[in-house]
Amino acid sequence: MRALILDDSRAMRTILRGILTEVGFEVLEAASVRDAIAVLGQGPDFDLALVDWNLPDVEGIEFVRQVRAQRKYDLVKLMMVTTETEAGQVANAIRAGANEYIMKPFSKQAVAEKLALLGFKISQSEHA
């Protein structure tokens, strides 16, 4: 399984990388939407992208829109990982094509549960 983490904070990327690696993902990182699009385009196919909302170049939701505009990424699961807590923002992200949404701060357990909801096979022992 391959995952892309899009977050401008290296600290947050490190935490998310630790969680994803522990449950079996190979992880690549990007700090901006432009970099994330470039990484995604390098392939091979990604299974998952974790997307922050507030970024220095354009908002993470724009990454969601750009990915969903390309059929070749239809199978990539997109999960917003953000401090944006407003219901309207959640609805906007889902409308744009995000599959899941998790608020910061999160626990390792919460991330694992969201991954399971997205259909990833995460064993109990791996995220306990």
Binding site: S9, R10, A11, M12, G18, E84, P105
Partner: protein
């Protein structure tokens, strides 16, 4: 205690527990804070704009900032890279501000975090008043969370807090 103070306590404890795995508790004794102001310290800042205008500040000693950054990076304070401490404190401030929106009028937008560091400095946002301020203790070191109300921003998402002033570094 007002709603913002209650929210600061819940949010900060939640972040410290879930992201850092550290205990943070409300402190009554301001002596360690007084001492910390004489040492090198960092202040993370995120501004909110929209239906509610204001700023969220996290202030702590360089030592505590290094410890929480090391926890986030899964390393020791001595092996942190240049910019790691500021990155970590900025992200923690971002999480506090983002979650605080739950008790504030909506919609609000967050600025990107900014971090000030130095010795004997003041961060000033003109035209604001303190909406809430809570002193915590983490790893036996003070952490001060302050929410200022007011100080409307000229743009929706500034890259740095407008009107801030660094007295000395």
């Amino acid at each position: 205690m007002n709603d913002i103070e209650k929210a600061i306590i819940n949010i900060t404890q939640n972040i410290w527990e879930s992201i850092l795995g550290l205990e943070v508790r409300r402190a009554r004794d301001v002596a360690p804070l007084t001492q910390a102001t004489r040492e090198r310290s960092l202040t993370g800042c995120v501004q909110l704009a929209g239906a509610w205008e204001g700023s969220v500040f996290l202030y702590c000693s360089e030592a505590l900032a290094g410890e929480v950054a090391a926890t986030m990076f899964g390393t020791s304070p001595e092996t942190l890279r240049n910019g790691d401490v500021e990155d970590a404190l900025g992200e923690l401030t971002n999480m506090v501000a983002g979650n605080l929106k739950i008790v504030l009028p909506r919609p609000c937008q967050l600025s990107l975090p900014a971090v000030v560091e130095g010795i004997d400095y003041r961060v000033i946002v003109p035209g604001t008043k303190i909406a809430a301020q809570v002193l915590f203790e983490s790893n036996s070191k003070p952490l001060l969370v302050t929410v200022l109300e007011g100080g409307a921003m000229g743009s929706k998402r500034p890259s740095a807090p407008s009107g801030t002033e660094k007295k000395a570094t």
